[in-house]
């Protein structure tokens, strides 16, 4: 069924498509090893975050923490902000996003178009300044609601209740699920469900490894692990560098016609690693991986063209996933 009462009802139910050209070739007579892409860019605002935004807002409504006209505060410049802006508009909330002033102009334009208000934190102060700004705003407005995607169980539940059942319905023979690790919500929710239903399933995380500027914390003790994260849900966790992520992102569009964001390139890199291991071991594998968003919002980085070294340089210091 492809008719919905409203845009919010059209969230999820994304296609799972096979990648016959990128799947590794197996020797004659060996069991098949196949790659499948779950196209989350087909959600209402173009990313997997629509699922989490919708579930987090609904959970807050059901708990009586969010009433029409309330203000949602979310410190994000990325997909979650855009998803929340759409949900907030349709459900009657005001959204305030806090973001560093050096984010790309297409994101600012997109958020403003959806009706979100933006508070900029100074770029020069880095993460410490962003901490200070977010703290200050939250303290000044105790009535504003922060959904806090890193610790909000509804984020992971969105995937437990929707993404994972869709995957299993469309690919009952699934052997591996691969996705990016950020808030960890996608992997925790999908991973838990699949582990309950599929014997021996492997849940694999691909973590973007950014340029050095991003890791410029003053101290190890200032690090952070999301509250949602439970290492027991994962089977393996890969760190994927900018170069490999860019290479795979380009390969996806060149070979399979899929135009995706760089985080998906990192995810494909890990998916190919496990697929090739399966070929080597002579095991059957149906490797499903998650396409978090399309490439549109990243075109201005210039990293889709030129040499790989140019692309790497263009993304240095940027949060490309």
């Amino acid at each position: 069924m492809a008719r919905y009462e409203s845009l919010l009802d059209a969230c999820g139910g994304t296609p799972l498509v096979g990648l016959p050209r990128l799947s590794p070739v197996v020797p004659e007579g060996a069991p098949p090893v196949r790659l499948w892409a779950k196209l989350e860019d087909r959600n209402p605002t173009g990313s997997v975050k629509d699922r989490a935004a919708l579930f987090m807002v609904r959970a807050a409504e059901e708990a009586g923490q969010l009433r029409p006209g309330d203000t949602i505060l979310e410190p994000t410049s990325g997909n979650t902000g855009i998803a929340l802006a759409m949900v907030a508009k349709l459900r009657g909330y005001r959204l305030v996003c806090v973001m560093p002033e050096n984010v790309s102009s297409e994101r600012v334009q997109l958020l403003r178009m959806y009706g979100a208000e933006i508070i900029f934190s100074p770029a020069a102060g880095g993460s410490n300044q962003a901490v200070a700004t977010a703290k200050q705003i939250a303290a000044e407005h105790p009535d504003w609601v922060m959904l806090f995607q890193y610790g909000n169980e509804a984020n992971a539940r969105a995937h437990y209740e929707t993404t994972a059942p869709e995957l299993l319905r469309d690919l009952p023979t699934i052997t591996h699920f691969v996705a990016g690790l950020g808030t960890t919500g996608t992997l925790m929710g999908t991973g838990r469900y699949l582990r309950e239903k599929v014997e021996g399933i492997q849940i694999i995380a691909a973590e973007p490894r950014y340029g050095e500027l991003v890791y410029g914390l003053r101290n190890i003790d200032e690090g952070y692990v999301p509250e949602l994260y439970d290492a027991n849900v994962l089977t393996r966790r890969f760190s994927v560098g900018t170069r490999d992520a860019v290479l795979r992102t380009r390969q996806l569009v060149e070979v399979e016609g899929l135009f995706v964001g760089f985080s998906t390139g990192a995810v494909l890199h890990a998916a190919l690693a496990v697929a090739h291991e399966a070929v080597k071991a002579g095991r059957r594998a149906d490797v499903a991986f998650l396409v978090a968003d399309g490439g549109w919002k990243y075109l201005s980085t210039g990293a889709y063209g030129g040499t790989l070294a140019d692309a790497e340089e263009a993304l240095e210091g940027q949060l490309w996933a």
Binding site: S127, L147, Y224
Partner: protein
């Protein structure tokens, strides 16, 4: 047996500014002891008093997280690359936002937590 070890910016004070150093060891635990002999104090920043990997440190052998390879018992081979990184979630902004909310407490984050 030489293993290449990549050191993050915040720990280069221990390596005299070196971004990449070399060490030896059959396991990650052995390697860190070997490195501590050359770069005194480095191991103490990675391992807790209880002898476990620090919560906010991620170490990868050939790009795979050692916590899923036996942690300090993870086996190493000649030519392996070990990468040490501080834990940042969803990039620097994610980290900043999360830290802000944790310090702010639950008042403004009514649906946070489990």
């Amino acid at each position: 047996m030489a293993i290449e070890v990549r050191i993050p910016t915040i720990l280069r004070s221990y390596t005299g500014g070196a971004k990449v150093v070399e060490g030896v060891g059959e396991t990650l635990g052995d390697l860190l002891i070997d490195l501590d002999g050359k770069f005194s104090g480095l191991r103490g920043r990675l391992i807790t008093d209880e002898g476990a990997l620090h919560r906010f440190v991620n170490i990868y052998v050939n790009d795979e997280d050692v916590r899923f390879l036996g942690s300090l018992d993870a086996k190493l081979s000649d030519g392996d690359t070990v990468t040490i990184l501080p834990a940042v979630a969803g990039g620097a902004l994610g980290f900043a936002a999360a830290a802000a909310i944790i310090q702010h407490g639950t008042a403004a984050a009514p649906v946070a937590g489990r």
